[in-house]
Symmetry: C2
Subunit: 460 residues, 2 copies
């Protein structure tokens, strides 16, 4: 018998059953990081709860670090299974932005129970942050930053850093912030300016001349553009009263955008709100998917009713039933390509609703070329297969016409949906598919009806 | 007549026609950053070339900063339109990772022409970097870092920083690296440790005890996992000989992942390689899209041939032509949902090919619930619309069966494609759609054939 290969899931299960928190921590510490989410999500739910309970007691900081391997909904799932007291020990050790995100995903009574058990300062901070939208600077900022009164010297700051260096592990330490007595932000000092300056220099002399500041309401899209333009790795966040309340780090913004792009992919595939994972409860998964499929079935019935209009033509030429889905499917794919390019150009900031005419022109040109080529190909295939050049003409001849409609629709729908405030990632697919189905059934069957005499006369 | 609203595209066009580089730079500097890519991409190509030629002469650094608003292919497009000498002036000023990315997107003779005009050191560096895959630490690193011999003191380092502070603007300055006489990496010193230390301390005393180093070949996926786990904002990169060659910054890794997620969305929509923008030449766009649509038309013909097998049933019950696309479309959407969830779980590291059975079970359960509900709905709609409960049974009864197949296929295909090394974002859609079309046509027509007697007898 071959020796058992190393199986981290089995290994971790055994360690959890053994109940030794430091052995679990040591094992997970040595595990390649890309294996961590997989391994933790593949032990049984009971063992996972047990594992985090053990770690919460002796290694709460490590347990908090582990949570960063999961997205917010998933981390909330894990935290929600723990006793409030245990959960609080872990949440206490999370970065302040992570705290609000994870607690925000929990049902509010569960979040409250955990907040009640947290250390008072952390809880106050987390509650305040949960009021901010997670797509704003307030939701993305961390509140661990270094602020010093404006009249301090480099020496005093350096002494404080030396003294409290250990506590500042999670802090934003690439900049220090100069504040007045009311904690209003006076300016930003890069850490490297401190290094370069004589010890007696006043912090006020080192402040950046061109300060960049955002407010708690600044949206993540604006933050992304800002970080694209500047070289700073973080910017200070102020509230309505101009008080310094936190720091948004570049990586927090980019993580948020990355998660948004991944959720867009899921929405594009028809997952409502984009956040399903298979570890979620069956009923919620089935409901989420059904809420997309039910309207789809209505739209499909609408398209089917076009075929109903021409049912006599289908009766006389039943072979049309074969080619209706071919034209609709092909042109639907072509429309999907135009949707994908528009979504990408929207996210790169290259098109706006005002560009509809340009988009239509560019899509029509591509569709004309590809439509003629695909039309000729289908004409030949259908002619050879069915032995009827007229049937070939009906199928192949519809393609350019339908593909132009499909690509123009596909290119414009995401822009129009965005303009009216709907989510293009979610709604573009069904809208375009329905239009393309309707048009392709209409064009193929209208052409077939016009040529009905030649279609029903055998050509052999 | 209302006054003309501010139109940055017109404004910039006028400025370019005016030919004053510093006025152009001032205008673009004041433009909200989210408007920048839009505005620059909407002036005519001639004006854009003219604008960058003007900026290259007097403001090459600003021109290089502007390029960061565009993705690599787009920036290469703009650079490729310039005279090699002009392009070289701008590329010289780009971050070293950006240089290789943009030059790598150009045809090699164009890239060579630009490299020949660049400053010799920058060109040598860029050539070396172009050898690395852009998905590796070698491709993502910057080569602007601070390295000091191991026997230097904090004072000597601080003096150097103070003296050359201006040149170090683009450098990674959050860490300094300690190297030996052969430029082999000895260790990393965080800038904040320098601040906290007396001036006479040797750099060697400040080196981090638990150094994190990657090699030029480390893949972006590994880098992402690494940065998830550690708090550092950058890690040093060494070559085969352990020499320090660059620094990978956290934001470079996250930008690469964000671009990959956006390209996945485009691939999911049927855009080969995921990188089309409408500013690209028509022939290349048409060709790229056609190379996806041609195989799709073949797959659709394959599905159509199933209908051909049952053509006699369709002849006797032509109304089936209406409902074949309904069942196929509905279950195709359901399969797409399963694809989207699998893609998301793969990218989050939550499933592997070994989990096929679990995925199948979870998808079957969801599909059973949604399939029965949707089946009942379709049964009722068809019964009422067509006045035939038997036709309702054929359509509604097929749904659970086909949806279970669709969701199992959709859940598994991305995993299987990944296992055999194909790109799941590109190929999952067509594979799943084809399987679902085949199965839905087969099931609906087989059921109809079995119940042919009741279907052809009017129930009224």
């Amino acid at each position: 018998m071959p020796t058992q290969p190393f199986d981290p899931v089995l290994e971790l299960s055994d360690l959890v059953d053994g109940g030794d928190a430091s052995a679990i921590a040591a094992f997970l510490h040595d595990l390649p990081p890309e294996e961590t989410p997989y391994t933790i999500s593949h032990i049984t739910e009971e063992r996972r709860t047990q594992m985090f309970s053990l770690l919460a007691e002796s290694e709460p900081e490590f347990a908090a670090d582990l949570m960063e391997h999961f997205d917010d909904a998933h981390a909330a799932d894990i935290v929600g299974d723990l006793e409030p007291e245990t959960a609080a020990a872990i949440v206490d050790e999370m970065d302040s932005d992570e705290q609000a995100d994870v607690l925000g995903e929990l049902p509010s009574e569960d979040a409250e129970a955990i907040l009640d058990e947290m250390s008072p300062e952390e809880a106050i901070d987390a509650r305040r942050r949960m009021r901010y939208d997670e797509d704003t600077a307030g939701g993305l900022m961390i509140t661990e930053y270094l602020a010093y009164s404006v009249d301090q010297t480099v020496e005093a700051v350096a002494d404080d850093l030396r003294e409290h260096g250990d506590e500042y592990g999670e802090y934003e330490v690439r900049y220090i912030y100069s504040v007045d007595a009311d904690h209003k932000l006076i300016g930003t000092v890069p850490m490297r300016r401190l290094v370069m300056s004589p010890r007696g220099t006043h912090v006020s002399k080192l402040i950046l001349s061109d300060p960049i500041v955002v407010t708690v309401d600044t949206h993540v899209d604006e933050l992304e553009d800002l970080f694209d333009r500047i070289d700073f790795s973080s910017v200070p966040v102020i509230d309505e009263a101009h008080k310094l309340v936190g720091v948004v780090q570049r990586h927090a913004v980019q993580e948020a955008r990355g998660e948004a792009a991944e959720e867009d992919l899921a929405k594009f595939g028809g997952i409502v709100r984009g956040e399903e994972l298979r570890s979620m409860p069956l009923a919620s998964r089935a409901g989420r998917r059904l809420s997309y499929l039910l309207p789809i079935s209505g739209l499909l019935m609408l398209s089917a009713s076009v075929i109903h209009l021409f049912i006599e033509t289908v009766e006389q030429v039943p072979v049309l039933a074969m080619f209706l889905p071919v034209v609709a499917g092909l042109c639907g794919s072509g429309g999907g390509q135009a949707v994908a390019v528009s979504m990408r150009e929207i996210s790169l900031g290259l098109i706006k609703p005002a560009d509809l005419i340009t988009v239509m022109g560019k899509e029509a040109a591509v569709a004309f070329i590809d439509g003629v080529i695909l039309g000729v190909v289908l004409f030949l295939i259908v002619w050879i297969w069915q032995g009827s050049p007229v049937m070939g003409l009906v199928v192949g001849g519809s393609v350019p016409l339908v593909l132009i409609t499909a690509k123009i629709t596909g290119g414009c729908v995401p822009l129009l949906l965005r303009k009216i405030g709907l989510d293009p990632a979610m709604a573009s697919g069904p809208v375009v598919t329905t239009v393309v189905d309707l048009v392709s059934f209409l064009v193929v069957l209208a052409l077939a009806t016009m040529m009905l005499a030649s279609l029903t006369t055998p050509t052999t």
